[in-house]
Symmetry: D2
Subunit: 438 residues, 4 copies
């Protein structure tokens, strides 16, 4: 119990520091594969705490990165980072090219390896500029146009560093290895696969991730120790290319990429439901054409499919590819489909989540475990790719929720959260890790 | 002038006989490639008049026939023909298999070859059964369910035999060769190509066809000596094949042929207009599926494209093929496209039609030549294939109209015509032929 | 136990008679609202056993019948029935007009009312004519072209009459009321609503239905005492009406009903999935147009929607109506949607199915209860409408399965079953009913 | 002939000045309803020459303006104009609000009124920035990002001012009224209607317009005195509005504006061809949705229809409206259609164009009149609205072409022309006007 008391005391003492970090990251949000300042900040902090730190191409395998911005965007963001200021000594060349993401390792002798995942990327949204919005009022609203931490990954990063700090301070009482994965590009399911491909999950015995969730959700506790049912997903950017022509003068000379895209949109949404479980399809955006009187020679759409299982998702993805390719052929166009993100079906191990529930009840009695311990999750999360890797090698994995009041729903421009969740998050991660490394 | 007077007198005398033949054919209408009784009747008549007669596979090249009914239909019609009665001695084995169509040749010494086309097939319609309809009242309405001479090809056949008779009787005054082509399967543009493929147009110097037309049309005469602008066309039967599945139980196991067909229908109608002239597309029928709760595994459609020129029609046909093939691919289906008919763009030679106009004015002063000598024709006619063959070999061709009052529009169930047109038709053909063989 | 032994003995003794009835009905299959001979046969049998018998408009409320054949079809079937022979004294005027369905009531003093449903209609399929098919070989294959008992409702009817006979014979030992519902038009979900609308479920305390099921299904027993999850459904016949025009001559004058239908087909299949549970959509058939060169002025489709709950089905139905109406408007067409059938979501009462499981284990130890007592059912069944009515009035309902080897899957042309299931069925119904009326 | 010689001499002398004006306007291109600097420049020049000058709301009736940019865009352009510099004394308040366009009137005593139209707007294109492009090399390339004179309206404006100058100088020799219309917003067919609605065409007896055209076109001369067949057109901006929802979480809660737009796109392109003449449809751009995983709640498209006659265009427009409204209804969305531009069918008066041909042959023998005097024009031009107004009031109108070598096709980023055409244009307009005012 002594150990637990020490952990609680240390984490409570971190509260101001956690808030400061969260706000620093909130103020300079960075979308997927642009988390340069964030990664440098984390790398420096972990180094200072005594962690072995892995970054750049060693953290994320180059070939497995998806949905990477173009060079121009990357360069422009780097300029912005340097202008704003960052831990420049830790901003490696790789990071400057967009190889973000950090792994921190703390070796504490013989014992299992406990992996913990913290995602760090922001969303491509414009934060609310009204004074009623606390980040605005208190001066930590986003300074990056069109980027915002509206999902709470700023909090996740802070929780990760808090967990790192407590565990490092109590290193002598642990037996095994602590491995912290600060993942880029969770939004769009773009980053986890690259960390898996770099081998960082291959030696993990116990794997824990978490997401902040609203207290007004169906959950009635402070912590849900596991989730299931998040949908496998594949994200595509699809470009139809045809031939422009003057619509009045020579309509027969065009190859209409918009007609191809419109036919594809209908066929995609008409992919048959699957009897084995839930499936989803969405063409979220479509942009086509250059002018009213020109036959559109290009149409670009962002789409995603999902499935209750990886198999159902594969069925959806294969059907989507057929729909797009057929649609292009109908109108003499070509089509290019780029995979922009991917998550798998996922379930938390019953044994692990039950154990964490027990640990929370025993060690953190001020926190309430949700009465439904294993919550249904309808979104998609590429932590699934990490969990599946751990599980297929015989390890255990769970994806938790830590509840907090929120000012507005996640993914909205007025999102904010009660920063008490930072301490709560650190305590839950530390309690679970210490139980495994006892 | 003497010769003309003889021709007029002979043709006037044929009036009762022409009516009898027209009514005999009207009473037993036969659709494309089933014109067995009609062909036997024609073959006997021509033989009796002294013509060399070519029938069966020699008249229509087997490989070039399109839109041929299945064997069962052919056999059933043969049974019907035999039961009703026909010139059985002239009903050859080929005819019994559906190789209908007759060519009659009359050699009259040195001189050019004049080809004349008479189409002989009926439509797939049910004739009006009311007593106000003259064919019903006077006992010559169709006895074949679902078949009717509603376009006047019964009159064309009679005019052809009348022309044959007059010319045979005046053989000694002619110099050259008379070639009469009694063509099967004009409806659906299915038969002309087979006669062309058999070589029957290859030696024709002057080629004349005609169609009866209503007096209330834009034409203000009894005869229009030429037409232009009839649309080239291609007819397809398209079959999409997928995979059936229980729509409630296993929707993902189906491959939905109806979805493929529906996408194709939209894409077909969306084929861009052509700046060089008129084009058309129609999916006239679609039949899909076997039951409400089964995913349709087959969808069959009848479509046609048209174009003001053969090139525009080819553009439409190529686009239609792409649309159907792409649509099948979209839904994991296969598609089969069978060409069921084909006509080309067409124009009457100015020199020939001017000459015929002069002949009519000179020799048949009781008939009025239309003031617009070269009428616009918006339908499709496979006589175009014959005309183009003659013209590409240096011959001249024209497609005329002979006007007559009609009881109701062509292709309607109350169609009937004033039988005076039979004599008029014979006179125009004979005058034109005699002018060429003078 | 004595009572049970008597019931078993009586039902075993009925085996030859049950087979005879089943085969008599199998030989003369009758699709929905045409079950004239079948209803007369049942009415006579129940009358002979001493049941009060309700038929015609009193059995099925006229306004609530769905998917009723047209008068001509009904009259033709009546002619066929009279020609084949039937219990003509029991073929009432109502039955002759297609008001089929029979209710039999046996009053056995004070006590609850036990309702039992037996569906009696055949499918619109052509039975296999090969000698390897037992009904063919043994002379009881369908004599009605295009109709076949391929789902086992012939067995259901026989089981119903067997149950009636055993219970009537043991009337003195029962306390309460036996109510047997011989339902027409289960295929297409067309008949149950009419029996409910006539009030026959309003006094039922315990309600039991059953379907024969293959032994090679996931079930591992002879009896599954309950099912859940069958999908609510609505069936529509949709007719789009436009305006015909010659596709070559005046395309702008048409209003293309096929284009409207094709757009509707795509929009229907694109109705968004529902997050609350499974949904289905199928356009099973589409027939449009009259000829290749005529713009289609009519397109008729048979469609169905389904939902895991009645609410989801309502969402699908409302979306389908919007899709069809909008599609018609797009092309200047009109649309008529006729509701042809309807079933609701359904679940068997846990208490009732547990009780039946106990009864079977106790009283019918030669039968095995499935280890999963409450099977998932993916089809749609309008018994749901009856169950929901009973349950909403406070009664209990269950829909069981009785397993039997089958020669081929249900709804296939070689379907046949092991007739031992007739005795098994009678025993399960009787045991359940006697337990409730003890 | 003296008069002609004077006109030729005066116009030749203007060559350097014409080039200067054309390049000044080319350097500061202004798209429709933003032609502020251009209008002020023209107003000053005409005033200096002694013309009565009408501008602002008096030149263009407010209610009839189409495709007007929003206030923010207008204000931003005004700021740019003021910053760049302009004839600020002539930049009226109306012009600053976007009421561009200028009418100049020169009264020369009794006689007919000759109206001449010169369009002055630029295209929304980015001019080529390479040094091989003469405007770049010689310093008169566009300084306005995304705007370019790529159709030659800069030359038209210069020709208008040159014509004004010559005619003003020779005022004493003219009898009647010269009316010059400098029209805004010809691109997109947005401006002519507003000048017509302001009444400026109501007293015009002879109306002349012109467009520069490439010498490598089918025309073989320097001047084509008339054109015909330009297509009537209507331009729409169409906005579909639905309801956003999380595509993974609650797909059934969305109303998918993209599905509505996709269905509309297909239905629009499937509007049947018209038998009476050419028609066109194009959906040139479509922009929909906000993010990959959000159901699109808005889809905006720019479309246009065209027709060989005003009637055919009306048929296309009515069909397009039905398609869009029906598509919205299919998916529970709303739709707004804003008319952004409109042009009518048009033909040049034979008598007028023959007269101009004669004048050119007689007075400008160094110029060649095209052998086909009345050229087919496949584009759409809202000068048609002016011509039709003049013609319906009994006046005569023609729309000419003046040919010149071009560096690249019109509407391409490397467009440039041989400035000799400026003098040629002035001569043709002056010769035609002087002939009418003789």
């Amino acid at each position: 119990m002594k150990m637990t008391e020490e952990m609680i005391a240390r984490s409570e003492a971190l509260a101001p520091w956690l808030t400061e970090i969260r706000r620093s990251i909130h103020r300079f949000p960075e979308t997927g594969w642009l988390e340069m300042r964030t990664s440098a900040l984390i790398a420096k902090a972990l180094t200072d705490m005594g962690y072995e730190v892995i970054t750049g191409r060693a953290a994320c395998a180059e070939a497995a990165r998806m949905g990477v911005p173009d060079e121009k965007t990357t360069q422009a963001h780097l300029d912005r980072v340097l202008q704003y200021g960052c831990e420049e000594d830790y901003l490696t060349d790789d990071m400057r090219e967009g190889f973000t993401g950090v792994v921190g390792v703390l070796r504490c002798g013989e014992g299992p390896t406990v992996g913990m995942r913290f995602d760090i990327d922001a969303l491509g949204m414009q934060e609310c500029a009204e004074n009623t919005h606390r980040p605005m009022r208190e001066g930590f609203a986003s300074v990056n146009p069109g980027m915002m931490h509206a999902c709470g990954h700023d909090a996740h990063a802070a929780i990760g560093l808090g967990t790192a700090k407590v565990l490092a301070a109590m290193k002598d009482q642990l037996h095994g290895t602590v491995k912290l994965l600060f993942q880029p590009g969770e939004e769009g399911a773009r980053g986890a696969k690259a960390m898996v491909a770099a081998g960082h999950l291959d030696d993990v015995d116990v794997f824990i991730g978490s997401h902040v969730a609203p207290t007004d959700s169906l959950d009635d506790g402070d912590v849900t120790p596991g989730t299931y049912g998040s949908l496998a997903t594949t994200k595509y950017d699809v470009t139809f290319r045809g031939l422009a022509a003057h619509a009045g003068g020579f309509p027969e000379k065009g190859r209409n990429a918009l007609l191809a895209a419109a036919s594809a949109v209908l066929a995609l949404h008409a992919i048959p439901r699957h009897s084995a479980g839930e499936s989803r399809i969405n063409v979220g955006t479509l942009h086509a054409g250059t002018g009213r009187n020109v036959i559109p020679d290009e149409a670009v759409m962002q789409l995603e499919v999902r499935g209750e299982t990886t198999e159902i998702n594969s069925y959806m993805a294969a059907s989507a590819e057929a729909a797009c390719r057929g649609a292009a052929a109908m109108y003499g166009c070509t089509v290019e489909m780029r995979k922009m993100g991917e998550a798998e079906g996922q379930h938390s191990d019953e044994a692990l989540l039950a154990r964490i529930a027990d640990v929370v009840r025993r060690d953190l009695p001020h926190l309430k475990v949700s009465s439904i311990e294993n919550a249904k999750n309808w979104g998609s999360e590429d932590i699934s790719v990490m969990m599946n890797r751990v599980q297929e090698r015989g390890g255990q994995a769970t994806y938790m929720r830590v509840m907090t009041p929120m000012a507005s729903a996640q993914h909205t421009v007025r999102f904010d959260l009660n920063e008490r969740v930072l301490v709560t998050g650190v305590q839950v991660f530390c309690a679970a890790a210490m139980d495994a490394l006892r």
